[in-house]
């Protein structure tokens, strides 16, 4: 298939998936409430630490803006299909896709896009309410250059997340159960991506490791590009590292998928 026809299929699949996602909009709304609550807990804790005289390397304004934007970035970047993909493989539901020219990966992308549309439509009003209470401390950058750099960092973060999730899901070609690995990865990612705690708040001795590990580039890096004064050198180093991780993870994902198809048994008719 040509890239143009793949885009047409992706657009069509996204509209089909969107219809399905809208049927579960209440479930998504509940899920987004839990997302907002977990992020707000982090916000309140660090604000309290600051108010109690804690020696934080960031100010109150950064914490408010970081956590509100984290909710947006997390919704746009997070992928959740690893257990679903493994189940599709184990039940032989991949059969219908393998006999057609369209790739199942396109369907996974469409599923993610459609759910993001529904999730964003439910989370933005909730964030609007929180923003109202903290609007004096919420400060987005006005420089256009930061936003222009934020977009590729965000796209890179999504592709990294998508490929990591797809790789773990592809383990379903060999494993009866991959949920343990998927959940372990989720917990590690929460700690190392900046979701639980901004990476800027970690102790100094951990900085080198935190700066180069893959999970930084799935969430924290786009926020750093947008909200902190990274030097040109730091920006270049960050994008180079993100690109290097991207190439590596895309190759691993592709390799796992291709090897998995060799091992596929198409069970269940």
């Amino acid at each position: 298939m040509t890239p143009a026809s793949q885009l047409r299929v992706l657009r069509r699949l996204t509209s089909i998936e969107l219809v399905g996602s809208l049927m579960y909009r209440t479930q998504f709304a509940v899920y987004m409430v839990s997302t907002v609550v977990s992020i707000m807990v982090g916000l309140f804790i660090w604000l309290r630490v600051g108010e109690s005289g804690g020696d934080l390397p960031v100010d109150r304004e950064f914490i408010v803006t970081y956590y509100l934007m984290l909710a947006v970035v997390r919704t746009l970047v997070s992928t959740w299909h690893s257990e679903f993909l493994a189940q599709v493989i184990r039940k032989g539901e991949l059969n219908a896709w393998l006999a057609r020219p369209g790739s199942y990966i396109l369907n996974l992308l469409a599923n993610n896009f459609s759910e993001k549309i529904v999730k964003m439509s439910t989370i933005l009003p909730m964030l609007g309410v929180i923003w109202w209470f903290y609007r004096d401390q919420f400060a987005l950058p006005t420089e256009i250059s930061r936003w222009l750099l934020f977009i590729p960092a965000l796209v890179g973060a999504f592709v990294l997340e998508f490929c990591l999730t797809t790789t773990i899901g592809s383990l379903g070609f060999w494993m009866d159960e991959n949920s343990g690995i998927a959940r372990s990865r989720h917990v590690i990612a929460m700690a190392l991506s900046g979701e639980l705690v901004p990476l800027a708040l970690y102790p100094a001795w951990a900085t080198t490791f935190l700066d180069i590990q893959v999970f930084r580039f799935t969430m924290s890096f786009p926020l750093e590009v947008l909200l902190t004064d990274l030097s040109s050198q730091q920006l270049v180093a960050g994008f180079v590292l993100q690109f290097a991780w991207l190439v590596a993870i895309v190759m691993v994902c592709r390799f796992t998928w291709q090897r998995g198809l060799h091992a596929y048994s198409g069970i269940g008719a």
Partner: protein
């Protein structure tokens, strides 16, 4: 009997083999704990060095008991599974490479797996297939109009799939699968779960498709009526090996060389005058049933005609279900 690969074959299979590897799972807590440290792997031979060729326009039925290897063969032919060894060529392509050019020329219909999206209408899936297969607007409109008429689904195109009955859904599955006018259609249990009328509709449609478009059809089914209605050739697979490859009447003749003759007379006939092996089906002695070898049939009919006034006469092959039961309980041996 196995056919040699034909020069004009669209499917060529040579020594095709597929093995599955899986771990043995014992029941119980202790076995579960043991399996944490040591897993016993097992290899199962699903398809064992089979060879055959299929010509363009043929309708071929794959028959065999559950686990015989027929669906695995179908999956390898359609590119779903990688063969363990052997050679496989369909329309000049190696199926497992799953090249777009190949997938555009075939279609796979699985009775137990859907290609339709439940939350939207069949038309949404048709439009998706239009993009997926790169169909022009004209071809799409033409194909939809033709299939809508053949399958009688005009009133179903815009109904949410989850609201369709099983029979209606299968007709839509066929429509979606045939939209791009494939040269070869692989059907895995296409009538499973359908009622008698829906089954008949599907069979009629497939026969028409083969007749009008010359589409090659490969079908697996446990329903012998499907096979009888559609297939001029059957390939019997058991324990992964081909046990018979030939015309359906030849199989019946080999397995059941006798014909079943049933004669209804206007008045009771004398038992003493009846040929050996005959039995009366009723109490008053007017309906006679007897089995006969094909080569002795002419003489037998002459004899039966002399017994009295015949009101009704039928000469039938054995029931295909009986033939297959006989075949598989004999360990897949074809009588010579």
């Amino acid at each position: 009997m196995q056919s040699d690969p034909q020069v004009d074959a669209v499917i060529r299979v040579q020594n095709l083999t597929k093995t599955y590897t899986f771990h043995q799972q014992q029941s119980g807590l202790i076995a579960a704990i043991k399996s944490l440290f040591h897993r016993q792997m097992e290899t199962r031979l699903a398809v064992d060095a089979i060879s055959f060729a299929i010509r363009r326009g043929e309708v071929v039925g794959f028959l065999g008991p559950n686990g015989a290897g027929k669906t695995t063969t179908l999956k390898m032919l359609s590119g779903l599974l990688y063969p363990t060894s052997g050679e496989l060529s369909v329309l000049g392509h190696i199926p497992q490479k799953r090249a777009s050019e190949y997938l555009r020329r075939i279609s796979l219909v699985m009775g137990q797996k859907t290609m339709l999206w439940w939350d939207v209408t069949p038309m949404d899936t048709l439009l998706l297939h239009k993009d997926m297969y790169g169909l022009s607007d004209d071809l799409f409109q033409e194909s939809v109009a033709e299939l809508t008429q053949l399958l009688d689904v005009a009133d179903l195109l815009h109904v949410q799939v989850r609201k369709l009955s099983l029979g209606q859904r299968m007709r839509m599955e066929l429509m979606v699968a045939l939209l791009h006018r494939p040269e070869i259609v692989f059907l895995d249990e296409p009538t499973i779960g359908l009622d008698v009328v829906a089954k008949a509709n599907v069979r009629t449609f497939l026969a028409e498709l083969n007749r009008t478009r010359g589409t090659t059809i490969i079908i697996t089914s446990h329903d012998m009526d499907d096979i009888e209605a559609l297939c001029e050739r059957v390939i019997m697979i058991d324990h992964g090996r081909i046990q018979f490859d030939g015309r359906l009447p030849d199989l019946v003749q080999r397995m059941q060389p006798r014909k079943l003759v049933r004669v209804a007379y206007a008045a009771p006939v004398s038992a003493e005058q009846c040929p050996e092996g005959a039995r009366f089906e009723d109490e008053d002695g007017t309906v006679l049933v007897i089995e006969s070898l094909r080569e002795e049939l002419a003489g037998l009919l002459q004899h039966l005609g002399a017994l009295g006034d015949i009101q009704d006469l039928s000469v039938n092959d054995a029931d295909l279900d009986d033939v297959l039961r006989d075949f598989f309980t004999n360990g897949g041996e074809v009588r010579s």
